[in-house]
Amino acid sequence: MYTFPMPPLDVPALVLGNTHLSADYNVLRLEAPAIAADCLPGQFVMIRTAPGTDPLLRRPFSVFEILRDAEGTPAGLSVLCKRIGPGTTRLYDAAAGDRLAVLGPLGKPFSVVSPPVEAWMVAGGVGLAPFATLTEALRAAGAPARLFYGGRSRADLFYLDWFGSRGVTLDLATEDGSLGARGRVTAPLEEALRARAAGSRVMLYACGPELMLKAVADLARSYGCPSEISTERIMGCGLGGCYSCVVRVRDSEGTPHFVRSCLNGPVFNGDDLVWE
């Protein structure tokens, strides 16, 4: 049997708002209280970007924020989108009052560490998406959190105040050096791993481009830290039906197999992932 933490729901979610963060990035806020109430950090939803048959398939998105009403009850969720094709262009252009079919929550969540373990999150670009809900869960658990966040330039780094105001220590990197360290975000990460106090325990969480994920998994192994990595694949259904979204993972005997990232992930133990 395949057991969902909670069986997913498909709701015609009202678009509450759409904030354009840049020419490519937007945050879409969706009314979906039942999905939001059950959502765990690192889980995803499948969104139908338009009615009809073109685009046909839903698109997978990490749940970005859980939206709450004045009493703190989950009222909806947001997704962080990057415009890369026809589906995401529709989401970029979506307006308050539109309705979009949202299926979720789906997938295996992050495990949330508690003190004395520190949580170090590593995000590249749109890979920031799963770390807002994780941050909330880490705060609730009282675990110190740090975010290593990289993008092409300062205009590609978002929500810095959001994370800062929730007590997350920020380590930024941009390829053009316009904010934070110049270059890849894995450079300040390695520096921090090298500099950390002897005996300190760190869990690395990562989401972003494949090369960054591999680098984080390698650093985690070199520095003796556990890691949990959220993978991104083209998905057909999000429910295990189509076998499109496979990731190569080692089993307990070390033999690599393709497994479906929608069911067995999207969050994997970094040590289990096999890099192509």
Partner: protein
């Protein structure tokens, strides 16, 4: 109102089946779909042994459709029987297994194993996967080979046998006839259309296998035409599929000659589609005064 239809010796409570390769092993959906409410659950294709499948990317979206080359990743018949069948039986699913082979001997062996398994209601013979060299398409694109593999499996099983036909031939109906003449109880069609998508920026194929199988609403009118042709060429039932996404589409296939239908790609978009399809068929039957769904089959009226 009677929704039941008959495929050989098998009576289905309604004409709705999941399409192989689009519904995992059925259990993936058990948390959200009542598997016993489907006419049949057609599970993912099984070889004798486990198969790894193609590297990703395995799918790409196309206008009102999708292209896939999964490569028949699967757990093999033995693990299926051991790990999946007990739960499928417990949930009351009518299970049709899609049988794959890279040789006639393998088709026969997989079919023989499944014939002894309680709860397997029928076998769908996959002689039409376009995505792997040894995926059966070499049997499905050649009339003599189709005849040979169907005849060989027929000898090995008493279960209803449903060869699944490829549309990637000049005349699908001649393959339906070859299947019928060699003992098939029904034929199912269409498998996907061999197709290609190119990423013009990189000048590479969009999926790792290069070519793949096209499915979804884009292929529906061609599939309806092929089902119509086959239904007129054979006496055995035809199971129709290709881009079904609504009760209207189910009815279109049935009127064109399909006794039952399979739903594939639409289940990816809407896994909660099944009760709506059934309700839509019932609504149509009420509006048109049809008491038995089977009475709709092949009722196409050319008005001449």
């Amino acid at each position: 109102m009677d929704l039941s239809v008959r495929i050989g010796s098998l009576v289905l409570k309604n004409p709705l089946m999941s399409a192989s390769g689009c519904f995992g092993y059925g259990l993936e959906y058990a948390g959200i779909v009542d598997l016993s409410s489907l006419g049949a659950v057609v599970v993912k294709g099984l070889f004798l042994k486990e198969r790894e499948g193609h590297p990703p990317p395995r799918i790409v979206e196309t206008p009102s459709g999708m292209l896939n080359a999964i490569g028949l990743q699967g757990i093999g018949v033995h693990r299926f029987v051991r790990e999946k069948m007990p739960e499928l039986r417990r949930l009351g699913a009518v299970v049709i297994v899609n049988v794959c082979g890279s040789s006639i001997e393998e088709y026969v062996e997989v079919s023989r194993i499944l014939s002894d398994v309680e709860g397997v209601a029928a076998l769908e013979l996959n002689i039409s996967c376009p995505n792997i060299k040894e995926g059966g398409i070499q049997f499905g694109c050649n009339l003599a080979s189709t005849a040979e593999v169907v005849a060989a499996v027929r000898k090995a099983t008493a279960l209803p046998l449903i060869p699944k036909l490829t549309p990637n031939v000049t005349s699908v109906s001649s393959f339906a006839r070859a299947a019928e003449e060699n003992g098939a109880d029904a034929v199912s069609l269409v498998n996907t259309f061999l197709a290609m998508v190119v990423d013009v920026e990189t000048r590479r194929p969009a999926i790792s296998n290069g070519m793949g199988g096209l499915s979804g609403p884009a292929i529906r009118p061609i599939a309806v035409r092929m089902v119509y042709e086959c239904a007129n060429a054979v006496r055995i039932p035809v199971v129709g599929m290709g881009g079904i996404g609504s009760a209207r589409d189910v009815l279109e296939f049935m009127i064109a000659g399909a006794t039952a239908v399979q739903v594939g790609t639409a289940n990816f978009v809407d896994p909660f589609i099944w009760p709506r399809l059934q309700a839509g068929i019932e609504d149509y039957m009420t509006r048109h005064g049809v008491a038995r769904a089977a009475d709709l089959v092949g009722t196409l009226d050319f008005g001449r």
